[in-house]
Symmetry: C2
Subunit: 300 residues, 2 copies
DNA sequence: TGCAGAGTATATAATAATTAAAAACAATTC
DNA sequence: GAATTGTTTTTAATTATTATATACTCTGCA
């Protein structure tokens, strides 16, 4: 077999529905109209029509396509489930590495991984090629891939890069007018931080999503495809690691909230130097947390 | 045929040489030793040995491999040429886009392009997957790729990102001790700039490589895999565009040299604010040049 | 018995071949 | 002559095949 005929099956079933919606004896529209309706090419419509004629649902002669009977349940062709979208694959892959603590230097087996993540092997191949741009995996001379990160160095460089990007975002942020959307959002975030701080003893687990919203709000002011692409990977990695290292989670989160509030105030004041100072402070803490979580993990 | 047997052919030819270096009647070493010597797996050695026996060059029985005759010219198997290394592919691809002015939105045909660049189609596939991380190409829903850049927006975002990275590098650079390798290099670059400035009227073409060395010297102080990866693409794109826009090249280059010298002095002084100021100035000019070169080109 | 090397089986990844789908083109009908 | 259908060509996704790598078993000798 070559590729699957999922597209054909889907088109066939949709055509059945169209036939049912019409009275027996009436004529179907032209191939082009049907193709437009089902959103496939004429070729697929034609092969579906051929099958319909074989099944006796229609009589097809020249440009006359007459509906002969309404469809039955077993006329339907079984449709296969859709493939996994790339973002899900990315999350699943990173999750796998972090959760099962896959060591750096591990050889990645494309065939095995593609089964594990339930994607076509060439999809995974492409995904790895993309990741190799981030230095997370590397192609071996004659076939195969190796996982390079998360070494301490990788975490260090990632953190440093994050700091560069986020300080840049802060510089943009302080220059925004008060009525800007992001400023609005930040005021809401400020309230949420205050609220969480008041009930930190019980609800310190709620910090992780708040942290995510906070940082993505800051970064949202930089409209840059390169930055966004990186931000996606960075936030995933930080997110997973935070979930991981449970030591002193309450204190850690409380301290982070206070740092966030300081930064929010600084951003509000429009004082760039102060904002950079507050952001640097917080990002340095974040970096330290990531590194120590790696260290703790490697000791286990 | 499936994959090429280049590896086998190479091994076979190397084995012929080894046989020739021994006297007729003497015994070859073990399979494992031969494999180690030729740097292939035992499997390949064994299939080569089988072929050698078929050709009557050796007699092989159990662990006895006796050399029967010395090789003739037509015993040699023709070896195919090596594939294209990935950096060359990257350069060739960008070159193609920029030189032939491939418009944004162009559908990329993997089969055709892989022939054009003389690489395996899956090599190109992987390469495109990598580029998609930079937002230069995009996968279409059902197969195929589209070229997204170089639109004006792409150039803008690229320039902005470059500015972020390079200002960060400058911040690192000013903190370096006087005896640091990069400082040393910068002193040499300063001389080269002065020298070129003196003979700018004739030799203004020589600026492009000097510009490349200058910027890569600055960026070399940031040891970060993410930064380096981006820098590679960025410098390629800027390089190509500069070669392109020939309007006022002499004046443009002279002005750039003066800006470089200002930045070198500022870096030398260790005054961060001054260095950032000089770098911003130069990078802004650079950005403008890139944008106007795009504009000029689109008018043609 | 231990071990070095030979033989065998299985796994993996690169590529060719195949096929579904799309698009381009030509022919036909109203 | 416009719309529609029939046919051919092109394209890329996926499978099948094969070269290569590796893991494992077997054998002969010290």
């Amino acid at each position: 077999m070559a590729r699957t005929d999922a597209r054909f099956r889907e088109a066939y079933n949709k055509l059945l529905v169209i036939c049912d919606s019409m009275n027996t004896g009436s004529k179907l529209p032209s191939e082009l109209v049907l193709a437009g309706e089902i959103e496939v090419s004429r070729t697929v419509v034609r092969s579906a029509l051929t099958r319909l004629q074989e099944q006796g649902v229609i009589r097809w002669h020249g440009r006359e396509k007459t509906v002969m009977r309404s469809s039955e349940v077993n006329d339907q062709l079984a449709e296969e489930k859709e493939g996994v979208p790339p973002e899900v694959l990315e999350a699943a892959f990173l999750n796998w590495i972090l959760r099962f603590d896959v060591p750096p230097g591990t050889a990645l087996n494309v065939a095995k991984l593609s089964k594990q993540f339930e994607v076509a092997s060439h999809t995974l191949q492409e995904f790895l090629a993309g990741l190799s741009r981030f230095g997370l995996v590397e192609r071996r001379p004659r076939g195969g891939w190796v996982l390079l990160g998360f070494t301490e160095n990788f975490a260090l460089e990632l953190s440093d890069f994050r700091i560069v990007l986020e300080l840049n975002a802060v510089r943009h942020f302080v220059k925004l007018p008060a009525e800007h959307e992001a400023r609005e959002q930040m005021r809401v975030l400020r309230e949420q931080h205050m609220s969480l701080l008041a009930r930190i003893d019980q609800d310190y687990h709620d910090f992780s999503p708040l942290d995510g919203s906070f940082h993505s709000c800051i970064n949202s002011v930089v409209k840059n495809r390169f930055v966004s692409e990186f931000q996606k990977v960075i936030s995933l990695i930080f997110h997973y690691h935070y979930q991981w290292d449970k030591t002193a989670e309450r204190q850690r989160n409380e301290a982070a909230i206070r740092e966030h509030l300081q930064l929010i105030d600084a951003l509000d004041s429009g004082d760039e130097a102060r904002a950079i100072e507050a952001a640097s402070q917080h990002l340095a803490t974040s970096k330290q947390t990531l590194l120590s979580s790696l260290l703790v993990h490697n000791l286990v």
